[in-house]
């Protein structure tokens, strides 16, 4: 609590706008899917936003971030616009990958947000790699890998953490434990209570479990891990308890959840929690409402712009395979 007392009100307000824009974009993605503007699938992160915003608040601009297919919030927290996100979901020319990536592969490389990966756990060794690169280049950058509770039972998770711990690399593994591995309760398929934190001891790392729905809690814990990483003391694992408001993916109504569970978590909705902090910090109601109106306008404009943008050109299918920008594999 002493550390959160140092938060500048301007930062609080900026994080509130950010969390609202992400929430609004997730809602828009859901609605646009239902009305046929978005194809394929989406894995919405509504409910998880505090993990993204709180972590981002503890990072420098040039730190590396790696995300999963449930990654809209992480790309946006590092600078991807709501418009570029929605346009990508709608296969538009203005999308972040011109329609070649889609919802599951949002990337914002200019903010060192190195991509969203849809093979569970695959990006964890990659985050170890960007941390290794920082050591080799002596750049002082840290790397963050976000992942779900379900990733903790896959080999790449363990291989990544072991190597990071052995080499004392500046990487932070941030688990979003939303209680469900797709449709199955994580507790039903995991031998420990806390799927990430309870494995930390195997790699001589401390067990850390925090409230993932509070931006300030997340920011403080990640800031500690960042300080540790930047001074060469190696990796951290932080397990953030959170909850997804929608189902696993677009087609999942999440009927497997016990009655009342969602409602209980909605009372701790990260947007609500952060708004509470603004009130606590004495920010006037009028100012808070202005932030809310502003965020709403950003999302509304983004939806319009994305809808009005042209589809990406068909020739785009044959670009960006190779470094020369093309796709030729033979002469």
């Amino acid at each position: 609590m002493t550390e959160t007392a140092t938060v500048a009100t301007d930062d609080l307000k900026a994080w509130y706008e950010q969390i609202l824009v992400i929430r609004g974009t997730e809602k828009a993605a859901f609605d646009l899917f239902m009305s046929g503007f978005v194809k394929g699938t989406t894995h919405l992160a509504a409910g998880h936003e505090a993990v993204a915003v709180g972590t981002s608040a503890a990072l420098n601009k040039d730190d590396f971030v790696w995300a999963t297919y449930r990654g809209h919030h992480h790309a946006m927290a590092r600078g991807l616009s709501s418009e570029a996100c929605l346009a990508e979901l709608m296969s538009k020319r203005t999308g972040s990958s011109q329609g070649k990536g889609g919802s599951m592969h949002l990337t914002y490389a200019q903010g060192n947000m190195m991509g969203s990966y849809a093979i569970i756990g695959s990006h964890l060794p990659m985050a170890v790699g960007s941390a290794w690169s920082s050591v080799l280049r002596q750049s002082g950058q840290v790397s963050v890998a976000f992942f779900g509770d379900g990733a903790t039972n896959i080999g790449a998770f363990h291989e990544a953490i072991n190597l990071a711990a052995v080499w004392k690399l500046p990487v932070i593994f941030v688990c979003e434990n939303n209680l469900y591995m797709e449709y199955t309760p994580i507790s039903a398929v995991t031998a420990v209570e806390h799927p990430a934190a309870d494995r930390a001891a195997a790699y001589s790392l401390p067990r850390i479990v925090i409230d993932g729905n509070d931006v300030l809690t997340v920011r403080d814990e990640v800031a500690r891990a960042v300080a540790k990483a930047r001074t060469g003391e190696g990796p951290s694992i932080i397990e953030c308890m959170t909850y997804r408001h929608y189902g696993h993916s677009r087609t999942d109504p999440a009927k497997y959840r016990p009655e009342g569970e969602l409602e209980q978590w909605l009372m701790r909705d990260p947007v609500k929690v952060l708004r509470g902090h603004l009130v606590e910090w004495g920010i006037p109601e009028g100012e808070i409402e202005q932030i809310e109106a502003n965020a709403q306008r950003i999302v509304t404009d983004a939806i319009e712009a994305a809808k009005n943008a042209p589809l990406s050109d068909p020739s785009e299918a044959f670009t960006d395979v190779w470094a020369d920008g093309g796709s030729q594999w033979r002469n």
């Binding site: 070649k100 093979i119 790449a156 190779w322």
Partner: protein, 326 residues
């Protein structure tokens, strides 16, 4: 004539040249440091460049290739070793799903200047899980450069291209060629990708090979010559990019082609090349396109059984003679 060097020494020589040239080149793999590699293909690198450039890892293929990929995407040029090519299956997600796709699915936002080197192929009696020729696995995945040199000079020249490339490269070194000798590579030697090497000119039949099958078809061409048959011998050097033009130009001259490949016939790379020749070279052909590949069985341990399965000079000669005489 300069002193000949081994294919094995050419591997470490090729890497060392690039490490001297570019401080962002680093090596990562199992036992590659002080131990010099289980095949001694990284001998001397640790002594010359030290532990900040040559990193020993646990037995952890996903961590090796995944970390190398993440580093490649963030400002360094890693050369990762997977000890035996069979073990690529342990990190196949990275080879098939990550390295070749990330530039594409990010709309060109990131690049992967990464080399994954591996000891490929049979002939040494290592049994079914340490002997496969798996270059055809890689050929099923768009987005990977596939290099497989057959001579020490090509090892050095293709290694230079691989390490300087901004694309991910799978670099197949052949276990059974490590002890073979050839001309050393001149200073600054670079072999561009996608340029097949016509190692012998001929007029009756084109023999196409890669890596280990090169000495097989070179010897076959010798024996065919003694039977009055003139062979043109082509070393593809890289499967991707594939130098189809050199092969088609040769077929236009010889009107016959025999493709000799070490990977199994079932799904082997020769099938792709044969389909192109059958399509685009059809009117030049006087005989069906033929492939000599390994039998479609796991590679056995015993030498006499391995000989049954793998292509050989005698098998190649017999097929070529039948093609020319028919």
């Amino acid at each position: 004539m300069a002193e000949l060097i081994t294919y094995r020494d050419a591997v470490s020589e090729g890497i060392a040249r690039e490490m001297r040239r570019d401080p962002s080149v680093v090596c990562i793999g199992e036992d590659i440091g002080a131990a010099g590699g289980v095949f001694k293909t990284s001998q001397g690198l640790y002594d010359e460049f030290g532990p900040t450039r040559v990193w020993d890892t646990p037995i952890s293929e996903q961590a090796i290739v995944g970390a190398a990929m993440g580093a490649a995407m963030s400002g360094v040029r890693p050369v990762a070793e997977i000890m035996f090519s069979d073990f690529l299956a342990c990190c196949w997600d990275f080879i098939a799903n990550e390295m070749p796709k990330v530039r594409y699915m990010t709309g060109g936002q990131v690049k992967v200047p990464l080399v994954v080197r591996t000891a490929n192929g049979g002939g040494l009696g290592f049994g079914a899980q340490h002997s496969q020729a798996v270059e055809n696995w890689a050929l099923t995945v768009p987005g990977l450069v596939i290099a497989a040199p057959s001579t020490p000079a090509d090892v050095v020249g293709l290694m230079a291209s691989a390490i300087r490339s901004d694309d991910p490269v799978l670099f197949f070194e052949h276990k059974a060629l490590f002890a073979t000798k050839g001309e050393p590579a001149p200073e600054g030697h670079v072999v561009p990708f996608g340029q097949a090497n016509v190692v012998r000119a001929g007029s009756d039949i084109t023999l196409v090979g890669l890596a280990w099958s090169m000495p097989v078809i070179v010897e076959a061409a010798e024996q065919l010559a003694s039977l009055g048959i003139s062979s043109e011998v082509i070393d593809l050097r890289t499967l991707v990019p594939l130098d189809v033009a050199t092969v088609l130009a040769s077929v236009a001259k010889t009107s016959r082609i025999l493709i000799v490949e070490e990977n199994p016939f079932q799904g082997g790379w020769g099938g792709t090349l044969a389909s192109i020749v059958a399509d685009e070279g059809f009117y030049d052909l006087d005989a069906p396109v033929k492939r000599l590949a390994a039998a479609s069985v796991p590679l056995p341990f015993a030498t006499h059984l391995e000989d049954e399965v793998l292509p050989s000079v005698a098998k190649a000669v017999a097929i070529a003679v039948a093609m020319v005489n028919d």
